[in-house]
Symmetry: C2
Subunit: 217 residues, 2 copies
């Protein structure tokens, strides 16, 4: 949720379609979670899930026991939706006011990963959210791997849509407002606060992975 365009170069823009795959990847890599939507008995079904992009696919995972997940994993059509709010766009009228955002939907069927790809996928997941952590902790046990179902959603050509809204809000003239009404942007940003050690870890040093994540944010 960072405004990535230099503000002095921004011109007025409204909602527009994004066809640049690199922009999609950047959004997917920047956000930790999305909403997985599918259809169950004709009814819409939605659940937020952490995700990790690996090349041309999005990895998801959940407990092997979760019923809803099992249904999606078994081949129901799914849409994964990821959104970043970048700024509040305060226009000279409420009608023209909105948010600058980026959002993407990736459509397809989830493929359960075979047993032998499970461990690598979970490591990708962990490294995506907290780089370096897999080197600081023990490997997953057979029992842990058996309790987890990793799945992949392919990012196929024609299988995704991205939209964004950016730039300054409407001018007073465009908005048919008095010329002296302020307008502008209020940028939004997600920050990581200093780590809080668990009660049993108060005397242990904060690991490198956590320090890097917090300092780099």
């Amino acid at each position: 949720m960072v405004v990535t365009v230099a503000h002095d170069r921004l011109r007025r823009l409204t909602e527009y379609a994004v066809s640049d795959r690199a922009a999609l990847d950047a959004l997917l890599d920047e956000q930790w979670f999305g909403v997985l939507s599918t259809v169950s008995d004709g009814q819409p079904w939605a659940v937020p899930m952490l995700h990790a992009r690996e090349g041309d696919r999005i990895l998801l995972h959940g407990s092997t026991g979760a019923g809803a997940l099992r249904q999606v994993a078994s081949g129901a059509p799914a849409v994964f939706s990821v959104t970043a709010l970048d700024a509040l766009a305060v226009a000279p009228t409420t009608f023209e006011s909105s948010v600058n955002y980026r959002s993407a939907t990736v459509r397809g069927r989830l493929e359960p990963l075979p047993r032998d790809e499970q461990e690598a996928a979970l490591d990708v997941f962990s490294e995506r959210i907290l780089p370096g952590r897999t080197g600081e902790v023990r490997a997953s046990t057979r029992k842990e791997l058996a309790a987890t179902q990793a799945m992949a959603l392919a990012i196929a050509e024609g299988g995704w849509l991205m939209k964004a809204s950016g730039g300054w809000p409407a001018t007073p003239e465009e908005a048919e407002a008095e010329p002296d009404v302020w307008s502008g942007l209020v940028p939004l940003r997600t920050v990581l606060d200093p780590p809080l050690a668990a009660p049993w870890a108060q005397d242990l040093p904060v690991p490198e992975s956590v320090r890097r994540l917090v300092d780099g944010a």
Copy 2:
């Protein structure tokens, strides 16, 4: 996306169901957007939308021209999903690591608001995101109101589900890890950066509504 529980009182918790309506309202009021999921020709369909809770209903709005919105507004079953990531929960193993979050789904059919409730609903929307703004700008015109479709999704008993995960991650003992592996939380927070005046508003004072929003965040 704020950790609202005092950390020293936290015990270990895993994912749990929340039945407290006040917790649902707090989540809906804190977050500016959610994902609206529905079914279109048997396929899942999802779009992020800004929302505003007003008592026992969630207000949404969009352009009168938007096809997908028209379909949902015309009575298809819908689910609105709102999520807050509160912290990264770093456990002594990758298997036990996760995030502390709150998420809710509200299920129902969207009701298009009648013409005469449209203006009040859009004002609620604006005030919800930027309190005080409606007093600083002109009222919406007839043309603007006609271009907008406001809709309501009822928050009915039995029509919503909320889940959360909070507290410290698993202990080394619970996670079957070495006792000297650090674990803890990295809290996440959304911040508003100082407002950026549009090029044509550089000489105007930042309005009260924007100043209060940014200072209070």
